[in-house]
Amino acid sequence: MAELVSLAEGVAELVHDGDTVALEGFTHLIPVAAGQEIIRQGRRGLTLVRMTPDIVYDQLIGAGCAARLVFSWGGNPGVGSLHRFRDAVENAWPGPIEIEEHSHAGMANRYVAGASGLPFAVLRGYVGTDIAKHTTTVSTVTCPFTGEVLTAVAALNPDVAVIHAQRADRRGNVQMWGITGVQKEAVLAARRSLVTVEEIVDELDPRPDAVVLPGWVVSAVAHVPRGAHPSYAQGYYDRDNDYYQAWDPISRDREAFAKWLDEVTA
């Protein structure tokens, strides 16, 4: 059964220097508050995994938490580039960052393999592209029935997965609904997991399009209202599009970012 903890406790217990950490959330329910707590606690040398690194990963990278990034699309959706990410890749600032990139289909299947206890997954993907040239986690496999050669991707099993959900009950059962992306797979693939939630309730009443993760597959749950801001939590608050716009000038400028970082870690 998942432990109910504060966000600070959860990050302290579950996220360690050098860990492979997946913060997932596909546009919706991005665990931004948890990411900023990782910054606040000064984690270093993380391998950050995420299909769509956006503002929260720009912040983690700019703050120097990441040694490595595994991803499939890194941008500020609807706005443009992630400039802290680009500064790290293009200029090794604040330090060098190793990158391993995939397609969405590949990343999704890597999590599926991880969640399924398999060392790899099979897909039709990457063929004819230059992506596979720069990673060792894409290969091929031959169908034993037809002889067809297909693409294989290595399983992803992060040390810890961090997600944000709408609700949990007091026993740590977690419920999220709307666009739920790859979060179930990330939690089931990870050795440990931290879920931040908008609300702790007595009873999880059924909801359309809901995904429930039973408490016995979650390590800890922390009550963090607005923990997905500036992304959205369906039924709680909308996406703060202004924040995404406002992030662009902060991210573009090392000094503006340093000031932002001082405020967050103060």
Partner: protein, 251 residues
């Protein structure tokens, strides 16, 4: 009604979705065009977003591929692994609608990096869903603004395959989809030559000259003998587009 270059690009793109059942919608310009198609040429078009929304019917233009509006108006919302594995991969989607940072003369797409991969001049967002959209949809349509640095002769990095090295390449790789049947820009429409697969100018937008298009293209652009002039946007199309984008433009 008057209109600008982006508007005729989007209207033209929306028109090319007429008669299709389903469209896998990439982020950005394709999303505007696909949503316009649902309001004009093809009200029944099933829009599929990589966030897992199938049959989304947004009332305002989504700013991202995972807006709440997409899930709330969709026929079904599925997980991200499912959208790629069950819906995209088997080739059941008619059209993949993609944007690009760069496209080459054979319709290959780069959204990864400008310059050397290890020491890039510009680091772009990366692949996202595009490589498999480009591989697995029955056909793809690409929409970009027409600039020499966008329509380039040869890519340093292929993120998503068009016709690869040319005729037969897709088939040799076992890809099932036909590849890019059309490249729609703010100057005109390019289509692959049936023999060589090279993108050639099939249509120019009203008021645009062939020389202007050539100057904006990074390779010696061939022009089809039957070069057409794009039909201008109708008032109904423009009204629908403007009501759609009033909430904010899409990057």
């Amino acid at each position: 009604m008057t209109w600008d270059a982006d508007e005729i690009m989007t209207v033209t793109a929306a028109r090319s979705l007429a008669g299709r059942t389903s469209c896998f919608v990439g982020i950005g310009l394709p999303s505007t065009a696909a949503n316009l198609a649902r309001r004009t040429s093809n009200p029944d078009l099933a829009l599929i977003y990589e966030s897992g929304a199938i049959g989304a019917k947004p009332t305002v233009l989504p700013l991202s591929i995972g807006d709440g509006e997409l899930g709330e108006t969709a026929d079904a919302v599925v997980s991200v692994p499912e959208i790629f594995n069950y819906w995209l991969q088997p080739g059941r989607v008619d059209v993949g609608f993609l944007g690009a940072a760069q496209v080459d003369r054979l319709g290959n797409i780069n959204t990864t990096v400008i310059g050397d991969y290890a020491a890039p001049a510009v680091r772009l967002p990366g692949a996202g869903g595009a490589p498999e959209i480009a591989a697995s949809c029955r056909e793809t349509i690409v929409i970009v603004r027409h600039r020499p640095r966008i329509l380039v002769d040869r890519l340093a990095f292929v993120t998503s395959l068009g016709f690869g090295d040319g005729p037969g390449h897709r088939a040799a790789l076992g890809l099932r989809g036909r590849g890019p049947i059309r490249l729609i820009t703010d100057l005109g429409v390019l289509e692959p030559d049936p023999e060589t697969c090279e993108l050639t100018l099939a249509s120019i937008h009203p008021g645009v000259t062939v020389d202007e298009v050539r100057a904006a293209t990074g390779w010696p652009l061939a022009v089809r003998a039957d070069l057409a002039v794009t039909a201008p946007p109708t008032p109904a199309e423009l009204t629908a587009l403007r009501s759609l984008t009033r909430g904010g433009s899409v990057a």
